[in-house]
């Protein structure tokens, strides 16, 4: 029988990283994700698998430790929450440019600025539209269950190494702090078959590998950009992930990710009990965004409500995907306030059905 544990989302992603065979974690505490490092420190994975845990002096230090360790071909992870992730943006851009694999975790809290410590989803633009400078993209996974916090650690490493690119796991305070049942898998080996031929592992008779994002020759830099864009196009083709719930007969559609998807699913149940046929579309990858799938559903529904704990960020991608074919409205709470399922249903009735 599989091992079941009651865990917080933050603890689950920490255990998931150990079991995925991660080599190192560098981080700096910030609510609502401090349990990630607390759990790792308690578990002492250096005694279990040899995985290194280090508390850095700041988020800027963490991301640069990640850059260095990732350059040696190791599986490395950091986690933070919104203000800390803002501090890391320079390093994330450098890692995207230098094609370094890593797993980043953002347990989003209310902003802007230091904001609040309560759940939010207002970092969607930052993660999916840039954040740092330059033409790069961040493969972004959005867990909605504590089980997915656990599972996405391994998936994150797999995708990061498959494409040699940073992967963001974008959760929020609700998923980080809540507890659910988690099925724990087997321990993966730390040293695996990942291709490390590009890494700085000691020259030993081969040509030297240089890890850098700097190339002052614009013609070569353009070639590098063309290479990156081709890689991002491959990701768009192969890595779109999503979940559809009762969309087959839906007249209206909720589009929501992470904790908002859970809340919207309950709102969907309340709506169906009243005879309103609503479906739920949950993007699991925020980038690449499930554009084609939303395009297809938008042809058969009367209206779409995006539910986000923000002022309305993902709604732009939903409007682009549905090509403004149907009415697309946004409902959200901000600054750390979490909507109730009843509020979501009321918004649907007011903005789409009554309107």
């Amino acid at each position: 029988m599989k091992e079941l544990r009651l865990m917080k989302g933050n603890e689950a992603i920490a255990e998931g990283a150990i079991r995925a065979g991660a080599d190192a974690y560098f981080g700096y505490p910030i609510t609502p994700q401090s349990e990630v490092m607390e759990y790792l420190m308690m578990e002492k994975p250096h005694e279990r698998t040899g995985m290194v845990i280090l508390q850095a002096e700041s988020e800027v230090a963490s991301i640069n430790m990640l850059y260095g360790a990732a350059g040696t071909g190791k599986r490395v992870m950091t986690s933070s929450s919104s203000p800390g992730i803002s501090l890391m943006q320079e390093g994330i851009s450098y890692m995207a440019g230098a094609e370094l694999p890593c797993v980043l975790v953002n347990v989003v809290r209310g902003g802007p600025g230091l904001g609040t410590i309560q759940p939010s989803q207002s970092d969607y633009f930052q993660t999916t539209k840039g954040g740092g400078h330059g033409d790069y993209r961040l493969l972004t996974l959005a867990p909605a269950y504590v089980q997915e916090m656990y599972d996405f650690a391994a998936l994150g490493f797999e995708l990061a190494f498959k494409y040699r690119t940073p992967v963001m796991i974008q959760a929020d305070g609700l998923i980080g702090q809540m507890m659910e049942k988690v099925e724990i898998g087997d321990q993966a080996a730390r040293f695996t078959e990942f291709d490390q031929s590009w890494a700085t592992t000691g020259k030993k008779g081969r040509e030297r590998n240089i890890i850098t994002s700097l190339d002052l020759d614009p013609a070569r830099q353009e070639q590098h950009n063309i290479h990156l864009q081709a890689k991002y196009a491959d990701i768009v083709k192969a890595e779109v992930r999503f979940e559809e719930i009762q969309t087959e007969d839906a007249e209206y559609l909720f589009v929501a990710y992470g904790s908002s998807a859970r809340i919207s699913q309950k709102a969907m149940q309340l709506a169906r009990a009243k005879g309103i046929k609503v479906g739920l579309f949950r993007p699991i990858t925020l980038w690449p965004f499930p554009t084609e799938q939303i395009d297809a559903i938008s042809k058969r529904v009367k209206g779409i409500l995006t539910v986000e704990q923000s002022a309305g960020q993902m709604i732009e991608d939903v409007k682009l995907a549905s090509q403004c074919r149907v009415q697309v409205e946004h409902f959200g709470r901000m600054g750390g306030m979490v909507p109730s399922p009843e509020e979501v249903l009321e918004a649907l009735e007011q903005k789409l059905i009554g309107g």
Partner: protein, 181 residues
């Protein structure tokens, strides 16, 4: 079966751990569970609450506006959550420190004077388990053996000598809870 519960009181009363024990008990009998705390700077002395859901089906929203059961342990929480009990639902409260007693006629109201009993038993730390026992008398959603198994899993081994006292507290709660007419 789905049971949606809010447990609310002062930080330090064992609100969050009572919820955790309930959630663990649910796991012991193969149910789906969720536990979501109103986390924040309110630790000891402030207000604390946790939403716990036990269900035979996969749980959608861990956040709710209305509940099948409210377990209320101070006046502020009474003011906030009395109205959130679904019609026909259950409100369990400890009378200690309550000035404005619940007045709704469309729900079942039960009183368990857990703090007074805990003082009598000479151990105020088992307060929350007396409350839990009272609740389980009214809604036996988890079996006592599963509560004990859940407790055993959630308590570090060095505290396993406290298991009998916890069991005694649960029994006491079942004994002293009364329905308020």
């Amino acid at each position: 079966m789905t049971e949606e519960i809010i447990i609310a009181g002062f930080g330090g009363q064992g609100v969050l751990s009572m919820g955790k024990i309930l959630a663990y008990s649910g796991i012991m009998q193969d149910q789906e569970v969720s536990w979501f705390p109103a986390y924040g700077p309110e630790m000891r002395g402030g207000t604390a609450n946790v939403t716990v859901i036990l269900s035979d089906q996969k749980i959608s929203s861990p956040v709710l506006r209305v509940y099948d059961t409210a377990i209320i342990l101070n006046q502020q929480s009474m003011d906030k959550f009395e109205e959130s009990v679904k019609p026909g639902g259950l409100l369990v409260y400890d009378g200690n420190g309550i000035k404005n007693h619940p007045a709704r006629k469309d729900i079942t109201i039960c009183r368990v004077d857990a703090y007074a009993e805990a003082v009598k038993m000479g151990n105020t730390k088992i307060f929350n388990m007396i409350v839990l026992g009272g609740y389980l008398k009214m809604k036996p959603i988890v079996k006592l053996e599963n509560v004990m198994a859940g407790l055993k899993k959630s308590l570090p081994e060095r505290y396993h000598n406290l298991l009998p006292a916890n069991k005694e507290a649960i029994m006491k709660g079942q004994e002293v809870i009364t329905v308020v007419e």
